[in-house]
Amino acid sequence: MKLTNILVCGIGGQGVMTATEILAEAALSLGYDVKKTEVAGMSQRGGVVSSHLRFGDRVLSPQIAAGEADLLVGFELAEALRWVHMLRPGATALVNLGRLVPPVVNLGLYPYPEQPVEQMRALGVSTHAFDASALALQLGNIRLGNTVMLGAMADRLPFPADVLRDAVLARFARRKPDLLELNRKAFERGRDAVAKAAVA
């Protein structure tokens, strides 16, 4: 069986690693062999984080090779562009339009890419872009952004969306039951948003 390779990227503190962990739990619940690895830079906030998830019958190397990712999930706009070369030709990217501008850009040392989504589409990547940060804020907390993004992935996996939703809700039921309903909502908002997002 061909492996499924999913690359989730963003910046430290956004919940990239947690989201990938939940995705891994969903794949594990179906009996897949799963490996997950991060390139996290220094163990600090604000740096680049990319999390590789591979699952299938038997996973050997934990790293996704360039050009072999089936799905790219960008928690931040420029970060999605940074990792777009990891996608196999014709694959899909799900992108949060929320921008997190780093100090090096504020200092005027580097520009922020002007039109990252258009740049990705010009490369032939089927790019679903929507503002997950705004959706999270509408629900009252920017931290819901990773659940919104998980919802966005739900219909693009080789298993039913319910499996992922159950994994998300199981985690909150276990750790933060008071946030269960809010996360259920965030998950569905992400799912709807990506279905409605313009694709090119």
Partner: protein, 621 residues
Amino acid sequence: MGAPLPASTSQYLFLSGNEAVALAVRDAGCNVAAAYPGTPSTEILEVLSGYSEVYAEWSVNEKVSLEVALGASMVGARAFCAMKHVGLNVASDALMTMTVTGTEGGLVIAVADDVGMSSSQNEQDSRYWGRFAHLPVFEPADAQEAYAMTREAFALSERQRCPVILRLTTRICHVKGRVLAAARKTHVATGFAKDAARWVMVPGNAKPRLSLMLARDTALRAESEASVQNASVGGSDRRIGFIASGPAFMHVREAFPDSPVFKLGLSHPLPIDRIRDFAASVEQVVVAEETEPLVETELRAAGIACIGKEVLPRLGELSPDVLRPAIARLRGEPAVASAALPAQTVFPRPPTMCVACPHLGVYYTLSQLRNISISGDIGCYTLGAGQPWNALDTCISMGASMGVALGMDKGRGPNDANKSVVAVIGDSTFLHMGMQGLLDITWNRGNVTVLLLDNRAVGMTGGQDNPGTGRDIHGKSAPRIDFARLCEALGVSKDRIRVVDPYQLPVLFKALREETKIAEPSVIITDRPCVLIDDYEAERAYKVVAERCTGCGNCVDVGCPAIHVTRREKAVKASGKEVDLSFVRIETAACTGCGLCVQPCAPEAIVHAVPEHPVAFLRKL
């Protein structure tokens, strides 16, 4: 997509290599575990501290942690110690004699190499310690093997009565995979047997033990030849046979599924006889090992022809991406054109100091001072070398800021005559290995100003406790070191020790100006908690009143990631000089009200977001 595996998945745990090692240490009946935090090894002890069956501690440094483990082994307890690669440099003095005394209770040392250097000052290959110290080395290839080999390492340690090195790399420590655990064991310490000839290492006692150590080499070689962790994995394409260990094994299997591989699990001493047989079964041998050409060199010395670093990189990680083109070149095959999209140019995004980090005040102040040399140290505050502060001139090893500063002072020539020497060190790094350096400064009357950044945490590795926090590894109340009194005891004059609030820029600036002018050792302790630990309390957030912002950019120089430039303009001053203006906003949702940016803002454009009123930033410490 095929059908998922039918395995009874409920038995599997999903663990990182670090978590797997910790579980195996517990399951092996280990009694004592000690470590100093260090990426990528930190989580091992964090997880172990959650197991009530094991005594776990953060030690002040790696050498002490290894000595704690040895002491436990001497009384017949099973003992474990974890560290990052550079930690074993610190602990090596103890290691090199422990190998002579040997151990009683099983003793396993996990050492995690930062291959690829995600968070370290160098890249080194800890497999050399096995050679240098005559000790066996296990190299797991994933979390499942990390579990199994940790268990086996305790058994081997007790069979051969020596410490066993478990060599991990970042790509083992931080990769999660499925793990099946085995039955747990318990162990009761057998008791200390006084035996000066064994435990008192004076020349007369040590000499006879050296021959025992050499005899052990032979026994270990036999262990390696017989070990199930060293095994040939079949493959029909006999043109190349690979020899691989650690994560490289997985990459080789992935990239060349048809090639035979000899997998090294107990990789030192090498099972030379078995490798010789393997080599005879293939046309050509390629050694795939990360960083140093160690196995390759030893195979050549044993008369086994092989290829290694001529075709594979000396630095960084191996991966299928790296292996495929290298082996294609070796075979004389044309390189397969990559189907991957071209990588896009995006600004770099180095890790930043956090919003309201107390170090921001320190580096903003240092960046305003001229004619100073700043020797730095290892921690979050090493980021002070970067933008926008550029206010850290050296970073070498744990505690090195002290000795380097003294050397800069004593070695200065005419070009540096007017410069002040400042050393910057964090609380935990100071306690790890900085104290001795400060003692050297005071004893030798160095003209150095030490900035001791006390943020009550080992910040870089995730906010662990240390003797300065008043808490132990479990977060329970523990004796707390008083840094001012400690510095005084180390010989700094009481008048030359100040405790300041790094959020109060004028106070910090004045203290630095004054202390650098006095030609005596002085210590400025900055006292504010790391914003990521529970001690930190957020204050009311700020915002920028856009119409008052003049675009001077002073607040941007503080370096807080919550300050964003909204537009840039150029303006011509009365003098005719052109200046760049940066108009700003504050991401109020991220701001925790430290007030650092308020202080350099001349037009008083920064105000509390809710309710809006004038700001008083000076607070009592």
